[in-house]
Every structure is written in C-alpha cells, then in structure tokens.
C-alpha cells in the first residue's frame, strides 16, 4: 500500500508541509525533509521549482526563483533524494508544474520518482482530463498517486468525477486564490469545508491555501482530514532558517 494511503488511514488529522526544493540553500532539501519528519509532520510536498509558477503567490514564487538561481534542477533534486528513504518514512509528494516534467519525459520522471521513493505528485497545470486520457496509466504503473485540486467553484458533478479518478486524497483549495493570499477563514470557507465533507467522497480531503498557524489549521481540519502549509513555512525558513523548524511545527500542531 502506498505510504499516502497508509497515512490517510491513521486516525488523526494530518499536517502536511510544502517547501521549495533548493531553498534557502541548494543543499537544504534533505535536511528540511528530515527536520520536518522529526518535528512530527505527517506528510511533505517537495516543490520542484519552476520559472513561471502561475498558481503561486509572491512568497513561493520568490523561493522558486531563488532555488533556480541556486542551481536546482529536476536532475539535482532526484540526486538529492536518492537516499531519502534510508532516513525518512512519511509520505513524500513532489509538487511541480508540468513543463519541467514534460521536458524530463513523463515516463522517465515517474520512474525516477519510484526509484527514490516518491509517493505522489501534485501538478497544478495538468488538468484532470488530460491526465485521465494521456498519463494515468504511466503514473499508476509507477505506483504514483496523482492528487487533484478542487476549489469552491468546482461543480458537484466535477467533484464526483475527480473523486472517481483519485486514489489518495483530494487537495481542497480553501478559496479560489493563488497560494499565500488569504488570512484566516470566514464563514464562507467553513460552509464550503462542511459542504464538501457532507458529500462523503471516497477520497479524504486535505485543505490547502491560507493555512498559516494553529488556528487556521484547526479550522481547516474541523471537517477535513488534514491541511497543507506552504507560504507560511517558506516565510519561516526565510526569516529564521532551518534551526527552528520544530518550533514552527509545534506552534501549528498546538
């Protein structure tokens, strides 16, 4: 069973953390993953940086630009992750835009993921339909779970379709917005979280976008299985560096 599914089966709310590979320093990738696991995070999204991350806000954009400047590439990332499974057990997901994967070769990319022990992928600009028609079999042949997004604007019909082809969890975007933009959740979001929960989908939902601290984590996971923090963690790395990662995680969890 895929590590993601195992983790989703655990009877607790999951904290997942996104960070950009190669940021702040090129060689920080492995350390950050290890520190996150040690601090009690349940899942990690490793961002493969892209020059034109159009679904991301300024914080993640800036970290991507810096990571690319530091020399991060698909090849380098896979090298860094070569031995990751020797020390890390929690699910690891690569989050990235489609073009770099396309240039690497989708099949080669999936193969590498499998080799180093990646469990899933989040590719914001690979639409469900294209995935379904062109890439599903390749992903599945390499045991990779592809994660799809839904937003408050996604129709019920489409949510059911996405649920039907998902094999892990659904990435529930808290509000229609790029990463790092909202601050705190209002009634609108809570209603939306509840509405989705009441649909009793096959796949559990993990909330992303706008989770910054303990309060928003708790709000988001009231109805959902877990939540993902991205920009807030990148900001923490920028301000405080790698030393106090456990501090950040502790503050969110409690």
């Amino acid at each position: 069973m895929n590590r993601i599914n195992q983790k989703l089966n655990e009877n607790k709310k999951l904290l997942s953390i996104y960070f950009t590979a190669g940021y702040p320093k090129i060689d920080d990738t492995v350390t950050i993953i290890q520190e996150l696991e040690k601090s009690g995070v349940e899942m990690i999204e490793i961002g493969l940086p892209f020059s034109d991350p159009l679904a991301d806000g300024p914080t993640i954009q800036a970290s991507s630009t810096q990571a690319l400047k530091n020399g991060m590439t698909t090849e380098v990332l896979f090298k860094q992750l070569k031995d990751i499974r020797k020390t890390v057990n929690i699910p690891l997901i690569i989050m990235g835009y489609f073009n770099p994967m396309l240039q690497y070769g989708v099949e080669a990319f999936c193969k590498k993921c499998k080799e180093v022990g990646i469990d899933g992928l989040i590719i914001p600009d690979l639409p469900v339909d294209v995935y379904h028609e062109d890439y599903k079999s390749i992903f599945e042949a390499h045991g990779l779970i592809n994660v799809f997004l839904i937003t408050p604007q996604t129709s019920v019909e489409r949510i059911h379709f996405i649920d039907s082809i998902s094999k892990g969890f659904i990435y529930m975007v808290s509000s229609a917005s790029v990463t790092g933009s909202s601050s705190g959740f209002g009634n609108e979001q809570t209603d939306y979280f509840k509405r989705i929960a009441e649909m009793k989908l096959n796949n559990p939902q993990i909330v992303g976008f706008g989770i910054t601290d303990h309060k928003t984590f708790t709000q988001a996971t009231q109805f959902a299985k877990g939540a993902i923090i991205g920009s807030a963690f990148i900001k923490h790395l920028t301000d405080k560096g790698l030393e106090t990662i456990d501090n950040f995680v502790k503050h969110v969890k409690n």
């Binding site: 630009t65 770099p100 600009d125 469900v128 996604t154 933009s181």
Partner: protein, 393 residues
Amino acid sequence: MRYNINNKGYYGEFGGAYIPEMLYPNVEELRQNYLKIMGEDSFQKEFNQLLKDYVGRPSPLYFAKRLSEKYNTKIYLKREDLNHTGAHKINNTIGQILMAQRLGKTRIIAETGAGQHGVATATVCALMGLECIVYMGEIDIARQAPNVARMKMLGAKVVPALSGSRTLKDATNEAIRDWINNPVDTHYIIGSVVGPHPYPDMVARFQAIVSEEIQWQLQEKEGRTKPDYVVACVGGGSNAAGAYYHFLEDTDVKLIAVEAAGKGVNSGESAATSVLGKEGIIHGSKTLLMQTLDGQITEPYSISAGLDYPGVGPMHAHLYKSGRAEFISITDDEAMTAGLELSQLEGIIPAIETSHSLAIFDQKKFKPNDIVVINLSGRGDKDLDTYIEYFKL
C-alpha cells in the same frame, strides 16, 4: 492536412487547456459559450457596428508604391495601424468585451507587452463602463510610456509585473494569478492567440476580419481574392492569425511569419521561438516555447515589447511544424532600419513589431508580379522614443 483548430481545441498536436483547477470554471464557461454567443445575430450586429463606427473598419489595403518600386514587387499594406488605438489589438478586445458582457462579467483584466493590448482593453472597458486592471512588465512600462499614460487616461489601473524578465510573459502570469483570485466576476481578455483553449481560437476568429477584408479589397484592386504572400510578425501571433485566417487552408497563398531575432538568433538575446523553442507548455497551452533543457521558460529579448515573448500561439506552432508557414527571423537592427525606411518612403511610422515584417525584403526576394500583403499591425507612436534614441534623430 488541416491547419485550423480541431474540435478538441488543438492545432495538430498543439493547443489544449493546461490550466490549474482554479481556472477551470472560467475557461470551461467560455469554452461552452463562445461559439454560440459569437454566432448570435445580436452579437454579430453589435460587433460589426463597433468595428465600423468605433474602430474605423474596414482598414484600408494600401498599395505602397514607393516601397514596391524599391523592392521590385507589389506590396500592399493592410492598415491596422489606422484602427482606433493604433493596432489590430482592438478587433479582439471589442469582441471579448461583448463576450464578457454576455457572460455577465463586471471586471476585466488583461496582460500587455507593448501596451497596445492594454490600451485596447482599457478603451473597450471605458466604452462599456467596466472596471479594468492591466498587468504589464516593469521593463515594458518603462519602454512603452505613452501607452501607460493612455491606459491611465482611460481610467484603467496599470499593475507592474515585477517577477521574472518583467516583460510580457510575467505580466501574463500576473493576470492569470488575478483571474485565479477572482473567478466569478472577472473576465480575462487575453491579447493574443495564446493561452488555454478556447482563447487561441476565439482571438483568431475576432482577428479574422483582417483576412476577410483583404479578400474583397484585393478583389477590388487586383481582380482576385488571393495574394501570393501574406506576411505578419508573430509575438503571440494574433495579427498573423487574423491575416492568415481565411487563407489557412488554401495553400496557393503562402504565409510568412516574422519573428524577433533580437540581437541575433544565437546571441542569447532573442525571441525567435520557432528556431530556439521546443514543444512545451506555457500559459495553459501546448506549443513551442523557449526553455532550458530542464523545462524552465527562458527570458526572451527583443527591442520590441510586443514580440518579447518566449512562446507562440499553438496555431503558429502547427504552421511551423507542418511547414505551412515560412518563418523568418529579423534582428533589432534590421527591424529598426526597415521602420525608418517605411517612414521615409511611405510616410507611415510603423510599430517596431511591424517593422520586423517590413525587414524581410533583404532575406527574401519576390517576383515583380507577386502580390505581397504585409499586415501593418500597428503604428509607431508608442515607439518614438526608441526610434529616436536608436537613430539619434
């Protein structure tokens, strides 16, 4: 071989809609409605009326006598520079603003490179009383100051794009981000035949008026509806798409696409996508784009803000790959010289984008009886500072 779009939203292998889920409802709403709305009588009537009374169409097909003499062939200029706001861009924004109204949108966003599309968008928003936000690369804001001023006069908000190369590509990213953040009330007026399906097709259809007019105008002047060549510069490719449209499937008409070589195709400072690009995804579309081996999008360069884009629309990727169109690269210097030449031979100061098209005569020879239609996509008023400085006039 078919050159126009198929019913799945692809030109050959290029096109599609590679968009984040956050954009799905918007793009899907448009995809489902655009052909229906464009087909409505009331839409056609309003669109054509505005093209006539507001834009000033038909734009003339002008026989350039002195230019023709110089290059010993028959050169006609399709005068999109005479449109209201000074370029072909307004054909599309008129169409899209009517589309946006019918979709019930109240807020308009756009990206712009040269500023012509931004001005054309700000213009139609003023005309219809809609809020307008235009994203523009910081570098383009500096080199196209007159257009920034125009947008402000028209009541639009101009937001600088500060990331990446701070040009058109990044402005487009910012516009897409805005759209993601405002999925309900906002229509994104893309300014070229780029972006996710159905944008390339919709924009091409709005620009198709250009080749429609060329047909009957040429009939009037030469007793035939087909030129031997149609020449257009390609940034994203909208003016070319419009000029080619009705000739796409008629291979008697040869198509020439002119790209910006910048300081030279191999100089590292270029925007000649057909030569330097590879298949990939940019701004929601599978097409040719300039990128690193690793799939990072390259920062393009051209003296012309409107051609300073690392991709081309999927139609043009297909025209290139299929060999239907001939692609020619023109350097900054060649373009500037051709722009000055047209000014002094014909009294028409072209946009620097267009100057690229005018520069092909040193690379490509035509026969004396060839009818060569060049799409004069815009006027050079926005580029005066660049010309003046370049030539130390």
